[in-house]
């Protein structure tokens, strides 16, 4: 119970500070918007072309956004050494990581949902009829990115060359999630949309395995 209540209190803090400053959301939304708009000029976004490239492009933009978003996740806690205050206050340090990854997932999903209509209009791809299934893939993919990204953000925040370290570690680790997410999304953007359950299952397993690893070893990530 203390894990859940601590996580709830910390998630509330994360959301409150972000929606008060809007630093991360503004930066990432503008960044993804630029990527999506720029790519729409590089090829003729007919429906057929968009179906071939759209899914990959979308997840590439989300990946860049995530690496922007994840970087300050633990760096913010170093400004006033608030991470130490959190470690002194919570009974289970996993609640700190759980709140961070929940907040990152929410921020990523908000960004993705804001960008989805822009993508659908600029690339001439209908997404309304598969919105529910697309939401499932976005959620599982974003959760996977957030779990791995939060863990690596905690590691890199204490390292030298931290700005370089996170993307270097993040990209190889996230390759399986990105491949699976892209494949499932491509299936949903097809002329005859279909949900690749195998890909969905893979994403769910990835999330469960990494979440379990974070639960088991997360405490060590927060130590000085």
């Amino acid at each position: 119970m203390s894990l859940l209540s601590n996580t709830g209190a910390l998630l509330g803090k994360e959301l409150r500070t972000e929606f008060r400053s809007r630093e991360l959301l503004m930066t990432t939304v503008i960044f993804i918007l630029m990527v999506i708009v720029l790519f729409s000029f590089t090829f003729d976004p007919t429906s057929a072309e968009s179906r071939r490239f759209g899914a990959g492009l979308l997840w590439l933009a989300f990946l860049f956004a995530a690496s922007l978003m994840l970087q300050p996740c633990f760096l913010r806690e170093q400004t006033n050494d608030t991470l130490s205050a959190l470690r002194l206050s919570v009974s289970d340090p996993f609640s700190i990581l759980l709140a961070k990854l929940a907040a990152n997932t929410v921020f990523l999903l908000v960004t993705e949902l804001l960008m989805l209509p822009v993508f659908a209009i600029l690339y001439n791809v209908p997404v309304v009829r598969v919105f529910g299934q697309l939401l499932l893939v976005l959620f599982l993919g974003s959760l996977g990115v957030s779990i791995a990204g939060t863990a690596l953000s905690a590691i890199s925040a204490q390292a030298r060359m931290r700005e370089l370290l996170l993307p270097v570690l993040l990209l190889p680790l996230l390759t399986p999630v990105l491949v699976a997410s892209t494949q499932v999304t491509a299936g949903l953007l097809d002329v005859e949309p279909f949900l690749q359950w195998k890909g969905v299952g893979f994403l769910a397993v990835f999330d469960v395995v990494f979440l379990t690893a974070l639960w088991l070893f997360g405490e060590y990530l927060l130590e000085e």
Binding site: S2, S5, N6, A9, L10, K13, R16, T17, R20, S21, T79, N80, D81, T82, S84, A85, L86, R87, L88, S89, V90, S91, E223, E224
Partner: protein, 236 residues
């Protein structure tokens, strides 16, 4: 901690047994053994880099020693793994993007205090920030932030209070207020372990002085004149 509150705290002791802390090849602490008794007020003195902060962070369980052992000793609620510990560090350990009240409420909830709102209100009043309770901490002066930091450390009525140069940023009035607050806590039975630079109204509270040099304890006394000598030493 108000005049109407007869505060009684079951202090806890800290036992450092042959503690060593290395950062790579650099020794921050070398074979430090120190027993801090329940209700004692110990001042740590020494040059910058002598190991005071590291020792305090080990006591707060924020840093794991490379070798040796740190234990708490206390009577009372032995069901708890550790006694209630408050820590005032160099950094304020509060969020700039939250108000003073939001900060205290957050930490009170994390510490699972039964009724956080009245406690928060009382502490804000005691640190003289009632009128600024709704202001973001980033709009505060360094001294005001330090007051929020001290209020945060006092939230759970600590059995042990660790203070790393707690007067940082406080004006003379603030230092006098802090000395008064710490005196009440000491007299109520709270164990105080604090690092200090030079003599001040706060150092006058110490019942024992320990001087560290290059990570080792070089002096440890409860004698008035010797204590004065240790605390007078500012170092470089």
């Amino acid at each position: 901690m108000t005049a109407t509150d007869p505060l009684q705290i079951d202090g806890a002791g800290i036992r450092f047994k042959n503690i060593e802390k290395r950062y790579g090849g650099l020794f921050a602490l070398r074979h430090v053994s120190l027993d801090v008794a329940e209700g004692e007020c110990v001042a740590l003195a020494g040059r910058n880099g002598s190991g005071k902060t590291t020792l305090l962070r080990i006591a707060a369980k924020l840093v794991r020693p490379s070798s040796g052992e740190m234990q708490f000793t206390w009577q009372g609620d032995q069901d708890c793994a550790t006694p209630r510990t408050g820590f005032v560090a160099h950094a304020t350990m509060v969020y700039d993007e939250l108000t003073a009240e939001e900060n205290l409420l957050l930490f009170a909830r994390l510490q699972r205090l039964s009724d956080p709102a009245p406690m928060t209100e009382r502490l804000l009043s005691e640190v003289g920030l009632s009128e600024r309770r709704g202001s973001l901490v980033r709009t505060f002066s360094r001294g005001m932030r330090q007051r929020v930091a001290i209020a945060r450390a006092l939230l759970q009525q600590p059995q042990i209070l660790l203070l790393d140069e707690p007067a940082t940023g406080l004006d003379p009035e603030g230092v006098a207020w802090l000395a008064g607050t710490l005196r009440k806590l000491r007299d109520a039975g709270c164990t105080l372990l604090m690092s200090l630079h030079g003599e001040s109204p706060i150092s006058a509270l110490a019942t024992r002085a320990v001087r560290l040099d290059a990570g080792s304890i070089v002096a440890d006394t409860q004698q008035g004149a010797e204590m004065h000598g240790i605390l007078e030493f500012v170092g470089g």
